[in-house]
C-alpha cells in the first residue's frame, strides 16, 4: 500500500517537477487517502456480510476519531494496520449484535459504561498524546491541545453512550450500538497503554515471521 503511494507520488513529482520534500508530502497524503479508503471499504463490506453495518461503523469511527488526537501504538505496515482494524471492528460488531445484545442487562451495561469511561478519562489524562518515532509530538502547546481535544471527544462519547442507554429501554437496536461504542473506546484506550503497545508489537512480529517463512 505504501509502495504504491510512493510510486504514484514519484510519478506525480517527476511530471510536475517537484523536489524531494514536496514528493514526500504528496506521498504522505496519498498513503492517508489509500489507507483510509481501503479500511472504510473493507469495514463496509464486512459490516454488510455480518448484517451489522451500523455497529461496525460505530466501532471504526469511535476508534479513529479518538485516535486522531490521542495517538497510540502503531502497526509496522499499512497492511497489518488494515488487517487489525477490519478484524477488530467486524468481530466486536458481531459480538455486540449477536451475543451481548441477546443477554443485555441494563445494570451490567451501566456498570460497563462507568468502568470504561472512568478508565478512559484517567488514561487520557495520564498518557495522551502517545506519539511515535515517525511523528514525534514535541511542543507543549500541541501536547496540551491533543489532551484537551481527546477529553472533549470522550465527553461527547459519554453523552452519546448515555443517549444510547436511555433509548435502549424502548428500542433493542440501541443496545448493540451502545455496546459497540464501548468496544471502540476500550480498544483505543488499550492501544495507549504499555500493554497495548506490546500487543500490537506481537502482532507485527507474528506477521513479519510468517512473511519471512513464506519467502
Amino acid at each position: 500500500m505504501e509502495k504504491l503511494a510512493r510510486r504514484l507520488a514519484h510519478n506525480i513529482s517527476s511530471s510536475l517537477g517537484y523536489d524531494d520534500e514536496k514528493e514526500a508530502v504528496v506521498a504522505y497524503g496519498l498513503i492517508a487517502i489509500i489507507q483510509v479508503s481501503m479500511i472504510i471499504l473493507l469495514v463496509f463490506i464486512f459490516g454488510i456480510l455480518i448484517s451489522a453495518l451500523i455497529e461496525t461503523l460505530i466501532v471504526c469511527l469511535s476508534v479513529s476519531i479518538l485516535r486522531k488526537y490521542s495517538g497510540g501504538a502503531h502497526a509496522g505496515t499499512a497492511e497489518v494496520c488494515t488487517f487489525v482494524t477490519v478484524v477488530y471492528c467486524t468481530l466486536t460488531a458481531f459480538i455486540s449484535k449477536k451475543v451481548f445484545a441477546g443477554i443485555y442487562n441494563p445494570f451490567a451495561m451501566a456498570a460497563a459504561v462507568i468502568l470504561v469511561f472512568a478508565t478512559a478519562f484517567v488514561i487520557v489524562y495520564k498518557l495522551v498524546p502517545v506519539d511515535s518515532p515517525n511523528k514525534p509530538i514535541k511542543t507543549e502547546k500541541k501536547i496540551k491541545r491533543m489532551r484537551k481535544v481527546s477529553f472533549i471527544i470522550l465527553v461527547v462519547y459519554f453523552a452519546v453512550s448515555l443517549t444510547f442507554f436511555i433509548l435502549s429501554k424502548d428500542s433493542a437496536v440501541f443496545q448493540s450500538y451502545g455496546i459497540s461504542l464501548l468496544f471502540g473506546i476500550s480498544w483505543q484506550i488499550f492501544t495507549l497503554t504499555y500493554l497495548g503497545s506490546l500487543f500490537i508489537g506481537k502482532i507485527n512480529n507474528v506477521i513479519k515471521i510468517k512473511k519471512e517463512v513464506q519467502r
Binding site: A9, L16, L30, V36, V128, N134, T139
Partner: protein, 39 residues
C-alpha cells in the same frame, strides 16, 4: 495526464496538511512524517 496529476497532488497535499495537525494518521499505521509538516 499532467492535469490529473496536478489535481491529485493538490488533494494529497491538502490531506497531508490536515493529517499533520493530528497525533497520528487516523488508524494504526504511521509512515514517517515529512520534515516540512513537523512542528
Amino acid at each position: 495526464m499532467k492535469k490529473f496529476y496536478g489535481i491529485l497532488a493538490a488533494v494529497s497535499t491538502l490531506v497531508a496538511a490536515m493529517v499533520a495537525s493530528s497525533a497520528c494518521i487516523i488508524f494504526f499505521y504511521q509512515p514517517e512524517e515529512p520534515k516540512s509538516l513537523r512542528d
